[in-house]
């Protein structure tokens, strides 16, 4: 099984969620994060005060999936999160050794 971590634009979150739902992925962890890569921040001036936005708001999705679903999930995220502009985010994939459902101690893919 694999863990997908996707850092996306907050405005694309609903679309990404819907796209994952469409391929049967219902469970995910969502975290409000801030950060920047190539998309640097900017400075706004309001009433004489400068507000520097150097860490931009993003949403981080985490989902662990059986291997056979990973490619489709990545495609769904790419398709729904892409606007073509700098700042669209990144997807990270990593292997997960085990998953355990706390309620009934199921293990492996069936715990996902």
């Amino acid at each position: 099984m694999m863990k997908i971590e996707a850092i996306i634009q907050p405005s694309r979150f609903e679309s990404v969620k819907d796209a994952l739902l469409e391929i049967g992925i219902e469970g995910m962890t969502v975290i409000e994060v801030r950060g920047h890569g190539r998309q640097k921040g900017h400075t706004e001036v309001y009433r004489g005060r400068e507000y520097t936005v150097d860490l931009l708001p993003k949403v981080k999705l985490e989902v662990v999936l059986p291997d056979q679903l990973v490619t489709r999930a990545v495609e769904a995220i790419l398709k729904s999160a892409k606007t073509g502009k700098i700042g669209d985010g990144k997807i990270f994939l990593s292997r997960v050794e085990e998953a355990i459902r706390i309620r009934n101690e199921e293990r492996g893919d069936s715990a996902l």
Binding site: P10, S11, F13, G48, L56
Partner: protein, 864 residues
């Protein structure tokens, strides 16, 4: 276990069978009181049997050792899965040491029999000491009850040792109990209105009742409030029975000591009509209303004994300011209420049969943030329900409600109004959300509680806001028509209690009825309508749109249409998210909301001249203005409107535009037309005249000469060269208020100065000299920024500086001296800071870099 002891294999099934029998009796309708008594008898019987058998088996004498029940079990109130609080009392340390094996075996046996034992051991000498860091133990000891063992030892402890020690420790225990109670209530947000309440520990839960009993006991009143011959105590008895039944049910349903009344259990309780004698069928929401009614009874009783604090912590400075701003609160001043110990108290109960008096008390609370005392609320409740004091002036008027809603601390009035049912009397539309549970995963409180919390979160911004609110505090302090914002918050979710598909639709329907009944002006109604209709839109934009995309900002700005409205909508959104649950407004969301506000606000001030009115595109508006202009010709109205910035439409309603148009028609006979209106915070001057050099500076100078402090202003011009200036000002010396006849002279003075019949300088001289002598309270450094990119035709200059009388005159004069034409002006004030934006041209073009530098120097010199 020793052989002489009844084996667990016998005792265990017996206990289990007994428990099952009690459970079945409860499920078949036995009262909570009876169920708790039976559970207690089962525990008592088992404990005595095990204790005495173990003692006999160990050949131990009962002398010098006894067993006490404490806490709830001591009160003979034992819920199905509650802990058994026990105390082993030893005559001395030797017996304590000898008894350890017995106690260990006793505790293990009870655990094996399914009792959750929580035990402690003390010698008699140890009980004499009050442990300062363990008030909970001493409070549990207040409910001690002899169970088994050396009865003489218990009598000695009870009547000789503890009676004296507890008497001496009463003040300490009372303080500690109050502290623990406040902490507990605080953990639950000081409200009973949780969607999934904890029936034991949450405000309104059974712990409230027990804390009340302890407080009365510690205060020297040993009566059980349930037995008091006061009518209210019947309500208490019923509430305790109801909540006890609910807690039994919750324990049985969860199979453990879990006191959360979840949505699922609410539905099941409603289905079973739990705790209800009548045969009426109720859905979960209706059943929960009964729950909250009982919870409210217990919570009110408790709050009588808990020291009250103001809803927001006021700084000393603010208290002094509040006191100075109005009549001294400590002195009744002919009014039947006064402030005592930081609370508003009633001095003449009878006067409160008149609702006008009640509302004057509530207005005082809203103005100063001083809360009503519990006694004051009870007195009002008593007067309201007793026919010997007939009700007078029952209908609240919009101006009276506006005073409460527009004050600095509206929550300080609205909260007691809700508790006293005055809120639904004033605003019957609110009734449908009273104690209403609407199930979702995000909201933690009932709909009415959520609505009141939104308002309290805003008023908290006035004083030491939490980090999340730091950006929003200045918006709250400077927001215009705060009353309309608060009114919108009261109504924004009432649709959730109405049979409509979308709650916003319901809330708007409620607004229609409320606005007609309370006689809101069309402008007021339209503003509240906007805020309710769009109360979710800013949050949706923040979360679903790219707020750093100029197109998003531009689209959002078009929907909001004016900065004043943006400010209200932003505060509404902040409060609405914040009141969902304590974690809902994350720093991430607060920052996003702020970013959208800043971007939209800047969009408004930087794009004013980009979007001009073309009357031919405004057929609906033309018709509406024509209707209110006595049938004037559309073409004439179109000529007047052509070329104004669209902001003009955003900040003025058709009725106002019709009035401006009427003034413009008189320009032929009198070249300066003025109108002055009293507003909530001062006066508004509307002035129309043909454009001319130094016009803005001259008007500002005349206002300054009359001692008027300009806090906000707009200056627009149409394509025909007619200037329409609006100045909001504060009459610093109350000249117009104390001498209404001066208004005409003031208007004449403006016209005379503009028409060259009167010189401005002599008028200004004395006034400005006096003003300069006063040092500023807060020092604001000056900043001057030019922006050539935002407008196609103009250079924007944004000036931030210390506000002072005559400031605009100084700036306007400097601009005039350098032949800068003001195309548009936006003037605002934030406390001591003036924030002025001018769209400037020179000879019909943007200002050159060289001219900008000269202007900067001149302005710096003027403002320094």
């Amino acid at each position: 276990m020793e052989e002489s002891v009844t084996p667990l294999s016998v005792l265990g099934p017996q206990c289990e069978a007994q428990r099952e029998r009690i459970r079945k009796l409860f499920e078949s309708g036995a009262s909570a009181q009876e169920t708790l008594r039976r559970l207690c008898e089962l525990a008592d019987g088992t404990i005595r049997k095990v204790f005495s058998e173990l003692q006999s088996a160990r050949n131990g004498a009962s002398q010098g050792l006894c067993l006490l029940a404490l806490g709830g079990y001591g009160r003979e109130v034992l819920f199905p899965y509650s802990d058994l609080d026990l105390l082993f009392l030893f005559a001395n340390e030797k017996i304590e040491t000898e008894s350890r094996p017995l106690i260990g075996e006793f505790a293990r046996t009870l655990w094996d029999l399914g009792f959750r034992v929580s035990s402690a051991g003390r010698t008699v000498d140890e009980c004499k000491r009050i442990e300062q860091d363990n008030a909970e133990f001493h409070l549990a000891m207040l409910d001690r009850r002899y169970l088994d063992g050396d009865q003489a030892l218990f009598e000695k402890l009870d009547s000789k040792i503890l009676s004296m020690a507890e008497r001496q420790a009463r003040p300490f225990l009372l303080d500690e109990l109050q502290r623990l109670t406040r902490d507990r209530l605080g953990r639950y947000g000081n409200t009973i209105f949780h969607l999934e309440p904890n029936v034991k520990d949450a405000p309104g839960g059974l712990r409230d009742f027990h804390s009340t009993v302890w407080m009365r006991q510690l205060a020297g009143d040993r009566r059980d409030p349930r037995l008091s011959p006061v009518n209210e105590n019947e309500l208490t008895r019923n509430a305790v029975e109801f909540l006890s039944a609910v807690r039994c049910f919750v324990h049985y349903s969860n199979g453990r000591n879990d006191n959360a009344l979840t949505y699922e259990l609410q539905a099941e309780a409603a289905e079973r009509s739990l705790g209800i004698d009548d045969n009426l069928r109720r859905n979960a929401a209706e059943w929960m209303r009964l729950y909250f009614r009982h919870a409210r009874t217990l919570n009110r009783q408790l709050l009588r004994y808990v020291e009250q604090r103001p809803p927001v912590t006021l700084s000393l400075g603010q208290r002094l300011i509040n006191a100075a701003m109005g009549p001294k609160a400590e002195v009744p001043n002919g009014r039947p209420f006064a402030v005592r110990d930081g609370l508003l108290e009633i001095t003449n109960e009878q006067a409160f049969a008149d609702r006008t008096v009640i509302y004057s008390l509530l207005t005082e609370a809203a103005r100063t943030g001083v809360p009503l005392s519990g006694d004051a609320e009870r007195s009002i409740a008593y007067v309201m329900t007793h026919p010997e004091w007939p009700l007078r002036n029952s209908r609240i008027t919009w101006p009276v409600l506006t005073e409460i809603l527009g004050a600095d601390y509206p929550g300080a009035a609205l909260r007691p109004m809700h508790r006293l049912d005055l809120l639904v009397e004033a605003l019957p539309e609110f009734r449908v959300i009273d104690s209403l549970v609407v199930r979702d995963f995000y909201h933690r409180y009932t709909v009415d509680e959520h609505s009141l919390r939104t308002i309290e979160h805003l008023q908290e911004l006035a004083e030491s806001p939490e980090p999340l609110g730091k950006h929003f505090a200045p918006l709250w302090r400077t927001v215009d028509r705060r009353d309309l914002l608060i009114f919108s918050l009261l109504l924004h979710d009432v649709g959730k209690g109405m049979p409509v598909e979308n709650h916003v639709t319901g809330s708007l329907q409620a607004l229609e009825i409320a606005a007609d009944r309370m006689k809101l002006t069309p402008e007021e109604k339209e503003e509240v309508h906007f805020l309710i209709e769009h109360h979710l839109d800013m949050s949706a934009t923040v979360q679903r749109r790219d707020i750093f995309d100029p197109a998003t900002v531009s689209g959002f700005a078009a929907m909001v249409s004016a900065h004043e409205r943006l400010q209200r909508l932003c505060l509404m959104t902040y409060a609405d998210i914040h009141a969902v649950n304590p974690e809902a407004l994350t720093p991430w969301k607060a920052e996003m909301l702020w970013q959208l506000f800043v971007a939209t606000s800047n969009h408004f001030s930087r794009t004013l001249d980009r979007d001009r009115l073309h009357a031919s595109d405004e057929a609906v508006l033309l018709e509406r203005v024509r209707e209110q202009s006595g049938g004037a010709k559309k073409a004439e109205i179109a000529r007047f409107l052509e070329g104004f910035p669209r902001r003009y439409l955003a900040v003025h309603l058709p009725a106002e535009i019709a009035a401006h148009f009427a003034l413009s028609r008189k320009l032929g006979s009198e070249p300066v037309q003025t109108e002055i209106k009293k507003t909530h915070h001062g006066y508004t001057l509307t002035l129309l005249t043909a454009d001319r050099p130094a016009l803005f500076a001259t008007i500002a100078g005349t206002l300054a000469a009359w001692g008027m402090n300009i806090v906000k202003a707009d200056a627009f011009a149409n394509a025909a060269g007619v200037v329409l200036d609006t100045f909001n000002f504060v009459d610093l010396h109350r000249t117009l208020e104390l001498n209404p006849g001066e208004i005409l002279r003031f208007q004449q003075s403006i016209a005379d100065v503009l028409n060259g019949k009167q010189a401005l300088e002599p008028l200004l001289k004395g006034r400005l000299a006096a003003a300069v002598a006063q040092p500023p309270k807060v020092v604001v450094s000056t900043s001057i920024n030019f922006d050539d990119g935002s407008s196609e035709h103009c250079t924007l200059v944004e000036i931030m500086t210390q506000d002072r009388p005559g400031l605009l005159y100084g700036i306007g004069s400097a601009l005039a001296r350098l032949a800068c034409n003001i195309d548009v002006a936006l003037i605002d004030t934030e406390g001591q800071k003036a924030i002025d934006v001018f769209y400037l041209t020179s000879q019909g073009k943007k200002l050159t870099t060289q001219k900008q530098e000269i202007l900067r120097e001149v302005l710096q010199a003027t403002l320094s």
